[in-house]
């Protein structure tokens, strides 16, 4: 495993060198097939490296209290239009956030889309899941002012759960005449989560004593994203929601001896459903960007222990909610400053318990040093520990505020 990660880091370093040498230019490669000129391939890529330092707890990176570089993202994509109204695009992705990702390269998306007209198109394959302003671009550092998105809405560790689906979507833009236009995406498919992904790590962290994690299931999902592009230039309002069914995972639970019964291990399978919803608003006014979003989801289901007679237990429904407001101002070509405030509640029945909430005020500076090179620095004042997740890294938690510094640089072409 260590060798694999070293190899992946080496591949990442080579990618960085290639990107540095060809930065600032997208690459278009002409093709010929059986003597016929094919449409050119269009290449783009990016590489982001971050640094995280936190005052009281290890957050996102395992050892951020000491300062950590465990915050890397790299993507390379290729696109082409082989036939009229047809678009094919593929992206390879590599990332590391704490103990998630770990530089294992993944096929991020690979899709073919056909656009019938402005109102209707269809896309199929592995696709980025739409959701609010940032879900489909949550790991694209170039696309925002801040280093970290509000983590209650866009958790950097959960990208295998939230970012992509295998399936398809129907999309389009419908003119509402003087009332603006309505953009929509309706999607359905399956979520493929990794056994070492963020959700799996989250489950592992919450296991009772004697429990070991086994596997996480593929689960079906459907949903929609609607955007009303108002007649006021730059102002749009969004509504999205969906339903994940048969969200499941398996664990083995060690049951200690209880005479006359000996000790044994019980396989337990959890199956549940997750409805979710999000509201969004974004206003681009001159050099200002204003954004606000709210997000909520519910988890409910049953634990099944097949070897125990009557071994089914309902897991109480939990509602999680988060919101943020943000503003950013671009002073000139090279400097943008932004700020946001966000609150996250892991369990809406425990909104006063700092173990279950996290409130974060962030101030970000983005420097566009070159067209192809961005550097960001960001400070956070955080209250609560609801998103720390890994208790092993943070055995003692209290109600005091704490700080975090995040620095990130991205090169792209």
């Amino acid at each position: 495993m260590m060798y694999s990660h070293s190899t992946n880091k080496l591949a990442l370093a080579i990618t960085a060198a290639i990107m540095a040498s060809c930065a600032a230019q997208a690459y278009e490669v002409p093709l010929t097939f059986m003597g016929t000129n094919m449409p050119p391939l269009d290449f783009h890529g990016f590489l982001s490296q971050g640094f995280l330092y936190s005052s009281d707890y290890n957050y996102l990176a395992n050892d951020s209290k000491k300062g950590s570089f465990q915050f890397t993202e790299a993507g390379l994509n290729v696109a082409m239009n082989p036939f009229p109204r047809t678009h094919i695009t593929i992206q390879a992705f590599d990332f590391d956030v704490g103990n998630v990702g770990q530089y294992d390269p993944i096929l991020d998306y690979a899709s073919i889309e056909y656009t019938f007209n402005d109102e209707v198109g269809i896309r199929a394959g592995r696709i980025r899941r739409p959701g609010g302003i940032y879900n489909s671009i949550q790991d694209i550092d170039l696309a925002r002012t801040s280093v970290l998105l509000p983590q209650g809405v866009y958790d950097a560790r959960w990208r295998d759960f939230s970012s992509t689906i295998d399936g398809g979507d129907l999309f389009g833009n419908i003119s509402l005449k003087k009332a603006g236009s309505l953009s929509y995406e309706l999607y359905a498919g399956f979520i493929n989560m990794a056994d070492n992904g963020g959700v799996a790590r989250f489950i592992q962290n919450g296991l009772p004593l004697g429990g070991t994690f086994e596997a996480i299931d593929q689960c079906p999902i459907f949903g929609a994203q609607l955007w009303w592009n108002t007649p006021l230039d730059g102002f749009r309002i969004g509504l999205s929601g969906g339903y994940i069914s048969n969200f499941g995972y398996s664990i083995n639970q060690f049951i200690p001896p209880n005479p006359p019964f000996p000790a044994f291990t019980a396989p337990i399978h959890f199956v549940g459903n997750i409805p979710f919803g999000q509201v969004s608003a974004e206003y681009l006014y001159k050099n200002w960007t204003f954004q606000a979003e709210g997000y909520t989801y519910n988890v409910s289901g049953h634990n099944y222990a097949a070897i125990i007679p009557g071994g089914s237990a309902e897991q109480p429904e939990t509602q999680t909610a988060a919101w943020y407001v943000s503003a950013a101002y671009r002073f000139n070509k090279w400097l943008e400053v932004g700020a946001y405030y966000t609150e996250d509640y892991q369990d809406t029945t425990k909104i006063s318990d700092s173990l279950f909430f996290q409130k974060d005020a962030a101030l970000s500076f983005r420097f566009d040093i070159k067209d192809w090179w961005v550097v960001k620095a960001e400070g956070h004042y955080i209250h609560g520990t609801g998103l720390l997740a890994d208790n092993k890294d943070n055995p003692m938690q209290n109600d005091n505020g704490w700080f975090m510094l995040a620095i990130k640089t991205t090169v792209s072409f």
Binding site: A26, E28, P39, D42, H44, F46, G75, N77, A79, N81, F83, P84, R85, H87, T89, Q91, Y109, S111, T115, D118, I127, R128, S136, I137, I140, L142, A143, R144, N173, K177, K178, A179, G180, S181, S183, N229, T230, P231, L232, D233, G234, L284, K286, N287, T289, R330, K333, E336, D368, D371, S412
Partner: protein, 141 residues
Amino acid sequence: MKNLLLKCGLLAALFVVGSFRSLALDGAVVIANSSVAADSLSADALKDIYNAKTKYWDGGQAIVIAVLPEKTDAALLQVSGMEAGAFKTFWQRLAFSGRGQQPKTADDAAALVALVASTKGAIAIVPADATLTGVKTIAVK
């Protein structure tokens, strides 16, 4: 209640005023590759192209946007409703989520005209004093 009605009325008026678009590009013209059939576009149709709502020409040819950073930023704002930085971010979001192709960039007007001339389906805003060779001019109505 009266205040609320007044505010709603003002907001509605603002939306209606914002919905009337007319476009006379200051110091810039719109050009396209000779493969593009259209000779003119409405301001709204042009905005839909720059806002990624229209991605293909009528015949199915993919629209390729080409830009000249800084020198045509004012006209780009008129056409798209976005400042240059926001426009770039908007297209990066689309490209890296698999939903579009980033605009191509050129370093100067001559290079931009050459890029449009050699790229099927290309469209660009160029300074009005640029020498236009091998491209067609698109009238904006």
